[in-house]
C-alpha cells in the first residue's frame, strides 16, 4: 500500500469531509479514529439535523454519517478504526496504537479533526454511579440501547442538554427537570419547546448542589441562584432521581495541537482555548490543519464546511489543484459558513472566529 500523503485524525463530519475533498483531487488519504465506528458524534444522533440542503438538513445524524462514510470509501480513503493517535512528534510523525501494535505514520500533511470533549461539573456526590456526562448517556440509549436511569435530572439547557432530554423521553425515561444556571435557556427555542410540551420543567437560574445515595444516585438537591450566582437560602429542593446527566458544555479536544506546539488563543464562546488557524484552516505549524469542533465548538454543518476547506487546502499544498481553483472552491464553503454565522446564535461565533484569524495573522507575522 502506498503511504498516505495526508493523515486525517478523527472520522467525525469534519474529518470525513476533509478526507473526501482531498481524495477527490487525487491525494492519498488515510483517516484514523479511536472508535469502532466512524462518524464521530453523528452516530449517536438519532434526531434530524438543522441546516440547509447542502448540509443534509432534515436528515438524521446517523444517516449523514453513513452518507459521508460511503463517499469516503468510494474515493478509496483508507479508514483505520480502533486506532488512537496518541502523539505527534517532529512535526509529522504520528504515533498510532491499534490495540495491538504501535505504528508510526509519516504523512506530508496532517489534518486534526478530533472534535470536542465534555466539561465536567464537580459537586458533592458527583463521583456516585448514576452521575454521567450527556455524551455517555446518548451513547448508551441510542447505540447500546440501555437505559441508564428511569428518573433523570438534566443539568444544562444548551442544545445538548435539551436534545438528550428529548431522547431520554423517547427511550422511556422520565425527565424530572432540567436545571440551567444561566438566567435563560442556552439552546434553540424549538428544542426547548419540544421538551416543554412533554411536560419537562426547565428551571433557569437553578443548579445542582448535591447528589445523594448509598451506593448510587438516589436523589439530587437543586437550588435557585440570584443575579450574582449566589445560592438563595431556603430554595433547596430534593428531587427523587436515579440519573443525573451533565451537559454543561464542550471544549476543543486539542491535545495533539498542543504537542505540536501550535499557538492558541482564548475564546470562551467557542469553548475555551482554540488552536490558532487562518481562514484556510492551517494552524501556526505549516502543513498542519484543523477542522470542526477542535477549531472551536460549533455544529456539524460548520464541521463539514471547515473539513472541506482543510481538505482543499491540503490538496492544494501538495500540488493537486491550482491556487486559483482551490480559492474558488474554498470560497463556496466560506460563503456558506458566513451564512451560518449570523443571528443571535451565529454572530458571537463569527466574532470568535474573527478573533482567531486576526490573532493568527498577528502571531505568524511576528515569527517571520
Amino acid at each position: 500500500m502506498k503511504e498516505a500523503e495526508i493523515t486525517v485524525i478523527g472520522a467525525g463530519p469534519a474529518g470525513l469531509s476533509a478526507a473526501i475533498e482531498a481524495a477527490k483531487y487525487g491525494a492519498n488519504v488515510e483517516i484514523i479514529d479511536e472508535n469502532a465506528l466512524p462518524g464521530g458524534q453523528l452516530f449517536k444522533q438519532i434526531h434530524k439535523f438543522f441546516g440547509s440542503k447542502e448540509h443534509y438538513a432534515g436528515t438524521r445524524g446517523y444517516d449523514i454519517g453513513r452518507k459521508l462514510l460511503s463517499e469516503a470509501e468510494n474515493l478509496k480513503v483508507v479508514i483505520k478504526l480502533n486506532t488512537v493517535a496518541f502523539g505527534v512528534f517532529d512535526k509529522n510523525k504520528i504515533g498510532l496504537f491499534d490495540q495491538k501494535d504501535i505504528l508510526i505514520s509519516k504523512p506530508k500533511k496532517i489534518i486534526i479533526a478530533t472534535g470536542a470533549s465534555e466539561n465536567p461539573l464537580a459537586f458533592p456526590g458527583w463521583t456516585l454511579p448514576g452521575v454521567m456526562g450527556a455524551g455517555a448517556v446518548q451513547t448508551m440509549i441510542n447505540i447500546h440501547r440501555v437505559l441508564p436511569g428511569k428518573k433523570v435530572l438534566m443539568v444544562g439547557a444548551g442544545n445538548v442538554g435539551l436534545i438528550v432530554s428529548y431522547q431520554l423521553l423517547q427511550a422511556g425515561a422520565d425527565v424530572v427537570a432540567i436545571v440551567e444556571a444561566m438566567p435563560k435557556i442556552g439552546g434553540y427555542f424549538v428544542h426547548a419547546a419540544k421538551v416543554l410540551r412533554m411536560g419537562v420543567p426547565i428551571l433557569t437560574s437553578h443548579t445542582i448542589i448535591e447528589a445523594k445515595g448509598e451506593k448510587e444516585v438516589e436523589s439530587a438537591t437543586i437550588a435557585a441562584l440570584d443575579q450574582n450566582w449566589n445560592l438563595i437560602k431556603g430554595s433547596e429542593k430534593e428531587l427523587d432521581v436515579d440519573l443525573i446527566c451533565i451537559a454543561v458544555g464542550l471544549k476543543p479536544e486539542a491535545d495533539l495541537c498542543r504537542m505540536l506546539n501550535c499557538e492558541f488563543t482564548y475564546v470562551p464562546f467557542l469553548g475555551g482555548r482554540i488552536p490558532l488557524h487562518n481562514e484556510d484552516m492551517e494552524t501556526t505549524i505549516p502543513g498542519v490543519y484543523v477542522a470542526g469542533d477542535v477549531s472551536g465548538v460549533e455544529e456539524a454543518s460548520v464541521a463539514i464546511e471547515e473539513g472541506r476547506i482543510a481538505g482543499i487546502s491540503a490538496a492544494e499544498s501538495l500540488g493537486y489543484i491550482s491556487e486559483e481553483e482551490s480559492e474558488k472552491e474554498r470560497m463556496k464553503c466560506k460563503n456558506r459558513l458566513k451564512a451560518f454565522r449570523i443571528g443571535p446564535f451565529g454572530s458571537p461565533r463569527q466574532e470568535g472566529k474573527n478573533k482567531v484569524f486576526e490573532e493568527y495573522k498577528r502571531r505568524t507575522k511576528n515569527v517571520k
Binding site: 438543522f50 440547509s52 410540551r197 449570523i342 443571528g343 443571535p344
Partner: protein, 160 residues
C-alpha cells in the same frame, strides 16, 4: 421564563403564525419557529411554495398563508418539530390539530388521548382521527378537539 403564555406570545408575533382570518378559512400550517437559526428544510418541503426562508438561511420562516392548502407535508419535514396543522372547519364544534410525533407505541385511530398544551399540561380529551407515516420515522397524528382549544393544544400525552 418559557411557559404556555410566553411561548404563545412569542410564536404569535412571528411570521410563521397564521392570521385569525386565515385560521377560519380552513386547514393551515402553524409554524412555531421564532428564532433566527440556520435552518430551512421547511421551505423546500412545501410543494406549494407557501413557506419562505430565503437568504440568509437564518431568516425566520414565513408562512404565505394564501398559498397554504393545509396538506400537512411540512410537518414531518421540520427537524425542529415546530410545525403543526390546525383545521378549524373540521365540524361544527370541533377542530383538529396535527402534530409531529416520535414516540412509541403509536395511538390507534379512534383512540381517546389526553391533549396537552405547550408546557405539557392537560388541556382536554381528544380523539385520534389519523395516524400517518410522515417523513423518515416521524409520524403525524391528527386529533379532534373542542374548537375553543385550537390555539393551545399542541401535543398528546404519550401512551405507555
Amino acid at each position: 421564563m418559557l411557559n404556555e403564555q410566553t411561548i404563545l406570545n412569542k410564536v404569535k408575533t412571528s411570521p410563521g403564525y397564521p392570521s385569525k382570518e386565515r385560521f377560519f378559512k380552513g386547514p393551515v400550517a402553524v409554524i412555531e419557529c421564532p428564532e433566527e437559526i440556520p435552518c430551512n428544510p421547511c421551505e423546500e418541503a412545501c410543494p406549494f411554495g407557501a413557506i419562505k426562508v430565503g437568504e440568509p438561511i437564518t431568516n425566520l420562516p414565513m408562512l404565505i398563508e394564501d398559498k397554504c392548502i393545509g396538506c400537512g407535508k411540512c410537518i414531518a419535514n421540520c427537524p425542529g418539530l415546530a410545525i403543526f396543522l390546525v383545521n378549524l372547519n373540521y365540524s361544527k364544534d370541533e377542530a383538529t390539530i396535527s402534530i409531529p410525533y416520535e414516540f412509541i407505541p403509536l395511538p390507534d385511530v379512534g383512540e381517546e388521548v389526553d391533549v396537552l398544551n405547550r408546557e405539557g399540561k392537560f388541556v382536554c380529551k381528544g380523539k385520534v382521527i389519523k395516524v400517518n407515516k410522515g417523513e423518515d420515522h416521524t409520524w403525524v397524528i391528527t386529533v379532534s378537539i373542542p374548537k375553543e382549544f385550537f390555539e393551545v393544544a399542541r401535543n398528546i400525552k404519550p401512551l405507555k
